[in-house]
């Protein structure tokens, strides 16, 4: 999983049916000091995360399919699976 901060959201009216009703969040990967590192990417949200939240993001499709329970043909690769309360590093 990746350690990220949610920096915003993305809206799209025209999309693949598997994304219907899914909230899309912009994620910025962080290092252990909380500094931005690497390129932003998009993840669907399963924990009601919002901008500014530090989160744990699963970036592997099989785990996504287990969480969403929409069958075996879900073209989604990234999902926010936890909101971080604190980090001891």
């Amino acid at each position: 999983m990746k350690y990220c901060r949610v920096i915003g959201s993305v809206t799209a009216a025209v999309k693949h049916p598997a994304y219907a009703g899914q909230k899309l969040m912009l994620c910025q990967p962080l290092d252990s000091a909380g500094t931005d590192t690497g390129d932003t990417f998009i993840a669907v949200d399963s924990v009601q995360a919002g901008p500014g939240d530090v989160v744990v993001v699963l970036t592997e499709g099989n785990g996504v399919r287990q969480i969403l329970k929409q069958g075996d043909l879900v073209p989604i690769r990234s999902i926010i699976v936890g909101i971080v309360d604190s980090l001891d590093a």
């Binding site: 920096i7 915003g8 959201s9 993305v10 809206t11 799209a12 009216a13 025209v14 999309k15 693949h16 598997a18 994304y19 899309l24 912009l26 390129d39 932003t40 990417f41 998009i42 993840a43 901008p51 500014g52 499709g61 996504v64 043909l73 879900v74 073209p75 989604i76 690769r77 990234s78």
Partner: protein, 92 residues
């Protein structure tokens, strides 16, 4: 998943049978400020995107799952046309 800007259409007459009838677009992956990230990609389109559109894509095995039939050999698929990117941190 990641953002990208469609730069053009790729036409290939001779291709793997499973790609027949699939629209291929040339896409530049971008960050949330539309700054380019990495090299251009060819992606298969599932949402009737066109040149200049800001889209989002899914990569790797999940790209194939966006298609019907899903065992198509692709590693990037356009799965949405972006209406807005809301970024409270960077709009300030």
């Amino acid at each position: 998943m990641y953002l990208g800007v469609v730069q053009g259409t790729v036409v290939a007459e001779r291709k793997v049978e499973a790609l027949v009838g699939k629209k291929l677009l040339l896409v530049q992956p971008v960050d949330d400020r539309k700054q380019p990230i990495g090299p251009l990609q060819v992606a298969v389109d599932t949402v009737q995107a066109g040149e200049g559109d800001l889209v989002y894509l899914v990569g790797s095995r999940e790209a194939a799952l966006a298609l019907d039939p899903w065992f198509t050999p692709v590693d990037a698929a356009i799965v949405g046309i972006v209406d807005g990117v809301h970024n409270p941190e960077r709009s300030a």
